[in-house]
C-alpha cells in the first residue's frame, strides 16, 4: 500500500519536474529572443547620442556655421484618438494653420502611415508647452539644426544645408562628408520610473570634423559691405570681390552680391540667382585686366621691354572684318609701360601680335585660365578659353585685350598672384584646417620669371599713378599696382556688344612687398566712363585693401600722404618712331586713351608752387641715386645705362611721398 503510494508520489514529482524543465527550456531556449526583446522593451531605452555637424570657423576661430540641438514633433496618426482635436491642439501650440495641419494628418491617416512629422525644429518654448500637455501620442525627437550666426556674412562661401543637414551649396556641400557627423546609440537600462541605471554603447557617435577656413571675417565683412555699396551706387546688377594671399593662395575674403541669409531656406519657386557665387561660378569677359597676361607673355617671349615703343596707330586699327578703337582718342608710339597705364587696346593688340597665337595660348593656360582653380567650392566655372584650332583671324587681337575669353574673379586673383609673388601660380584655397590637421599647402608652379614679375609690378604701378587709368585705387601710405578693366557685355541675342560693362580692378598691395591681391568686379554697369572699372571698382579696391593692410598690420612703405592729383600737361606727337626721341616728354605719359577711365582731365591741373622734380636725363644711375638721396627723394630705377626718361617729368611739382621712375638705357 505504502509502496504504491510512494510510486505515485514519485511519478507526480517526476511529472512536475518534467513540466518545470519543459517550461524552462521554452523560456530560456525556444522563446529566448522573444522574451529578451519583451524584457528589453520594458527595461531598456535607446538614446541617440548627438554627433553635431562640424563647425565652420574663420581663420581666427570665429564660428561661421554651427549646429545646435533642437527638437521636432511627430505623431502616429493611427494612434491619435481624435485627429480634429489633435490638429486644433497642435496648431495652437505650434502656431500652425490648423485646417491645413488637419488635412495633412488626415491624408497620413488615410494612407495608413504610422509616422507624421508635425513640425520640425521647434523652439524651446513650444517643446516645453507640448511636454506640459502630457499626451502620450505626441512624440518629441531631438534633432540637430544648422545656424549661421553671422547672417549673410560669407554666405556664398559657406553655402547651406537642407532639412537632413546635408550640404546643398558652398563649403557645406563640398566638404559634406567631413562635416557630417554620425550619431551614436546607447541602450540604457532603466527602472520602473524610467531612470537610467546602466548603459551600453550600441553605436559609437562620430562627431563631424570642424573646418577652419582661410577667410577673415573682418575682411569678409568689409568686402561685402563695399561691393554692396558699389553695386547700389553704380546701378550694377551683380558684383564680386576676391582677396587672396599671393604666396600661399589663402583666400582672405570672397564676397558676392547679391547676398542671402543661409538661415532662411529658399521659398519654392524663388529666383535662385542670388544663391550663385559670382566670384567662382559666373565667368565674364575680363577686358583690359587681361592685358597683364598679354604683357607678361610679351616680356617672357619677346624682346619687348617696358620702354619699348608700341605704335598705337592713332587710336584706330583696322583688322579683317572689324575696326578697333581706343576709347580716349588716338595715341601714337608709346612705351609698352604706358600701354598698360593708359590701357590702350590697340597697344595691347600690337603687343599680342608680337607674342603670337601659340605663345599667347600657352600663357593663357599657364596663368590658369580655361580650367578650374580647384578651390574647395562646388559649381566652380572653368571659364572659357577657345582651343587654338578654333581661333579666328582676329582672335589673337581680341584675346590680347581680354575678349573672346571668359574668366572668373577668382581666376583673375590667381593670375594677379602670379605677378605679386614673383611668378608662381598658386592654387587658391579656402580650407586652412580640417579638425586639428592643417590642410596641405598647394605646390606652386612657375609661370613667369621673377624679373618678369617685378617688371610687371612696376608697370602696374603706373596704372594707379597720376595719368593712369586706376588712380582711384591709390592708398595713402602704401604702394599699389593694379589694372583696370571695362569689358563691354556681349548680347548673344543681338550678336553685338552692348553699352553695359563688366567693370573690374585687379590690384596688388603693397607693391614693394606684396601681401594681398584684390580683384573687384561689378557686372552690368552703365553710363559710359562712369561705368568703367577705374571708376566703379578701383574705389572698392582702395577701401578693401586699405582695411586689409590695416588689419593685417602691414607696415607702410611710403609716407602717408593724400594721393596726389597732379598730372603732367598735355602735348606731344602722335607717332614717335624712336622712343628716345620722346623720352622725357611728359605729353606721352599724359595722353589719355584706352578703354578705361584714363583720367580724361589730365591736362588741366594747376601747377602749384613748391619743390620740383629734378632733371635726371643723361645722368648715370650712380649720379641719379646720389642726387636723389641728397634731396631725400625716392627713385625707382629701371634698366641700365644713362637716364633716358623719367616720370614725373622734370620740373613737375613734387609732393611728399612721390616716387620718381627713371628709365635707363645705353
Amino acid at each position: 500500500m505504502v509502496e504504491r503510494r510512494l510510486t505515485w508520489l514519485a511519478a507526480i514529482v517526476l511529472l512536475w519536474g518534467a513540466a518545470i524543465f519543459q517550461k524552462i527550456v521554452s523560456l530560456q531556449v525556444v522563446r529566448h529572443q522573444e522574451y529578451l526583446n519583451l524584457a528589453r522593451a520594458r527595461q531598456e531605452m535607446v538614446i541617440e547620442i548627438p554627433a553635431p555637424r562640424g563647425t565652420v570657423f574663420d581663420r581666427w576661430g570665429q564660428p561661421l556655421a554651427m549646429s545646435v540641438q533642437t527638437e521636432s514633433v511627430y505623431i502616429n496618426p493611427l494612434k491619435v484618438p481624435d485627429l480634429g482635436v489633435a490638429a486644433e491642439l497642435l496648431g495652437l501650440v505650434l502656431h500652425m494653420d490648423r485646417p491645413s495641419l488637419y488635412d495633412k494628418m488626415q491624408q497620413a491617416y488615410d494612407a495608413g502611415r504610422g509616422f507624421f512629422w508635425v513640425k520640425r525644429k521647434i523652439t524651446g518654448e513650444e517643446a516645453e508647452s507640448l511636454r506640459t500637455l502630457r499626451l502620450e501620442w505626441i512624440k518629441i525627437q531631438s534633432e540637430s539644426q544648422r545656424h549661421y550666426p553671422k547672417g549673410t556674412l560669407a554666405a556664398h562661401v559657406l553655402g547651406a544645408v537642407n532639412f537632413e543637414e546635408r550640404g546643398t551649396a558652398g563649403i557645406e556641400k563640398a566638404l559634406d562628408s567631413d562635416l557630417r557627423g554620425q550619431p551614436g546609440r546607447e541602450r540604457v537600462l532603466t527602472d520602473v520610473k524610467r531612470r537610467g541605471i546602466d548603459s551600453r554603447l550600441s553605436v559609437e557617435a562620430k562627431a563631424g570634423t570642424s573646418i577652419t577656413l582661410t577667410i577673415d571675417e573682418r575682411l569678409q565683412f568689409v568686402a561685402e559691405r563695399e561691393i554692396a555699396a558699389a553695386v547700389a551706387a553704380h546701378h550694377a546688377i551683380t558684383g564680386s570681390v576676391v582677396m587672396m594671399n599671393p604666396y600661399n593662395g589663402e583666400v582672405l575674403a570672397m564676397a558676392s552680391y547679391p547676398a542671402y541669409d543661409p538661415n532662411i531656406s529658399p521659398e519654392p519657386g524663388e529666383n535662385l540667382a542670388k544663391y550663385q557665387n559670382h566670384a567662382v561660378s559666373v565667368p565674364f569677359e575680363p577686358g583690359s585686366v587681361y592685358k597683364v597676361i598679354t604683357l607678361s607673355a610679351a616680356l617672357e617671349t619677346t624682346s619687348l621691354r617696358p620702354e619699348s615703343p608700341i605704335n598705337c596707330h592713332g587710336g584706330v586699327l583696322k583688322l579683317p572684318g572689324r575696326t578697333i578703337h581706343d576709347s580716349h582718342g588716338g595715341l601714337g608710339v608709346i612705351p609698352m609701360a604706358i600701354v598698360l597705364a593708359k590701357s590702350s587696346n590697340i597697344g595691347a593688340i600690337m603687343v599680342g601680335m608680337r607674342v603670337g597665337e601659340e605663345n599667347m595660348y600657352q600663357y593663357m593656360l599657364k596663368f590658369g585660365f580655361g580650367r578650374r582653380t580647384g578651390i574647395e567650392l562646388p559649381a566652380e566655372s572653368a571659364g572659357k578659353v577657345y582651343k587654338l584650332s578654333r581661333w579666328g583671324k582676329t582672335s589673337l587681337a581680341s584675346v590680347s585685350m581680354g575678349q573672346e575669353v571668359s574668366v572668373t574673379t577668382l581666376q583673375l586673383a590667381q593670375a594677379a598672384a602670379v605677378v605679386a609673388n614673383g611668378g608662381m601660380l598658386v592654387r587658391p584655397r579656402l580650407v586652412l584646417k580640417r579638425g586639428n590637421q592643417a590642410a596641405p599647402e598647394p605646390q606652386p608652379v612657375r609661370v613667369i620669371k621673377p624679373e618678369t614679375a617685378i617688371t610687371m609690378r612696376q608697370m602696374m604701378e603706373g596704372v594707379v599713378l597720376p595719368g593712369g587709368s586706376g588712380t582711384r585705387a591709390r592708398l595713402a601710405g602704401y604702394t599699389v599696382g593694379g589694372k583696370t578693366g571695362s569689358a563691354q557685355i556681349y548680347d548673344f541675342a543681338a550678336r553685338h556688344y552692348t553699352h553695359s560693362y563688366n567693370g573690374s580692378f585687379m590690384g596688388i598691395a603693397p607693391l614693394t612687398n606684396p601681401q594681398i591681391v584684390v580683384v573687384v568686379t561689378l557686372n552690368g554697369t552703365h553710363g559710359g566712363e562712369a561705368g568703367f572699372g577705374g571708376v566703379v571698382a578701383a574705389p572698392v579696391f582702395r577701401v578693401v585693401a586699405g582695411e586689409a593692410l590695416r588689419v593685417l598690420d602691414v607696415p607702410k612703405d611710403v609716407p602717408e600722404t593724400e594721393p596726389t592729383k597732379t598730372l603732367v600737361t598735355k602735348a606731344g606727337p602722335d607717332d614717335v618712331s624712336d622712343p628716345d626721341s620722346r623720352l622725357g616728354q611728359p605729353d606721352i605719359l599724359a595722353e589719355g586713351d584706352g578703354d578705361d577711365d584714363a583720367a580724361p582731365a589730365a591736362a588741366e591741373a594747376a601747377v602749384p608752387a613748391g619743390p620740383r622734380v629734378p632733371d635726371f636725363q643723361g645722368k648715370t644711375m650712380r649720379a641719379v641715386l646720389a642726387e636723389a638721396a641728397s634731396k631725400g627723394l625716392t627713385v625707382l630705377p629701371d634698366g641700365s645705362g644713362v637716364a633716358r626718361v623719367q616720370f614725373p617729368a622734370p620740373g613737375s611739382p613734387l609732393h611728399e611721398g612721390d616716387r620718381i621712375r627713371v628709365q635707363f638705357k645705353r
Binding site: 570665429q62 545646435v68 553671422k150 547672417g151 556674412l153 537610467g196 565683412f221 559691405r225 590695416r550
Partner: protein, 164 residues
C-alpha cells in the same frame, strides 16, 4: 457593554466606600432609570480577581555557561552571516547606485554640452561684424588709423595694442 478597561477596573479597590459596599453587579433603581438600554451582564461577570503580589527578588538564575556560549555563538554566527551577506551584496547595490548617479551625470553632461553650444551660438551672433559695425556707428566710433595703433608687446600672437 463591558469593555476591557471596565473589566479590569473592577479588580481595583473602589475609592468611594459607599460604592465599595455595594455588591458587584447590583444595580440601583436610579442606574436602571438612567440607562434603560444597558445590556445584560456577561457570564462570570460577578467573578472577582485579585492581584497577588509575589516577591521573587530572592530568586537567582542558575549559571548556564553552555547556554550562554551557545547564545554568543549564535549571535556571532548571525553577525558573520550578516557581514558575509553584506559584503556579497554590497558591490551589486553600490554598482546600481553608482549606475543611477552615472546615468544622471551623463544626462546632465549632454544637457550642459547642448547648453554650451547654444551659448557659443549666442556669443557668435553678438560678435557679428555687422552688429559691431552698427554699434560702433551708433556710438560715433571710428576706425583708428594705423598710425594711432601702438603695439606694446608684439610677441607672437599675444600682441597687445593700444590706441593713442
Amino acid at each position: 457593554m463591558a469593555t476591557l478597561p471596565t473589566f479590569f477596573r473592577r479588580t481595583e479597590a473602589p475609592a468611594n466606600p459607599v460604592m465599595a459596599a455595594r455588591p458587584v453587579g447590583a444595580r440601583t433603581e436610579r442606574d436602571t432609570e438612567r440607562d434603560p438600554h444597558m445590556l445584560r451582564a456577561l457570564p462570570n461577570d460577578d467573578i472577582l480577581f485579585y492581584c497577588k503580589k509575589i516577591d521573587n527578588s530572592r530568586l537567582v538564575r542558575e549559571a548556564d555557561p553552555q547556554g550562554r556560549g551557545a547564545c554568543w555563538s549564535a549571535i556571532a554566527g548571525a553577525c558573520v552571516l550578516l557581514v558575509l551577506l553584506t559584503s556579497a551584496f554590497f558591490p551589486t547595490v553600490a554598482t546600481t547606485l553608482a549606475g543611477y548617479k552615472l546615468e544622471a551625470l551623463r544626462t546632465e553632461e549632454r544637457q550642459l554640452l547642448a547648453e554650451r553650444r547654444n551659448l557659443e551660438l549666442q556669443e557668435a551672433e553678438l560678435l557679428s561684424p555687422a552688429r559691431l559695425d552698427r554699434l560702433a556707428k551708433d556710438n560715433n566710433l571710428v576706425t583708428p588709423s594705423s598710425r594711432q595703433v601702438v603695439h606694446l608687446d608684439a610677441k607672437g600672437d599675444a600682441t597687445v595694442a593700444m590706441v593713442k
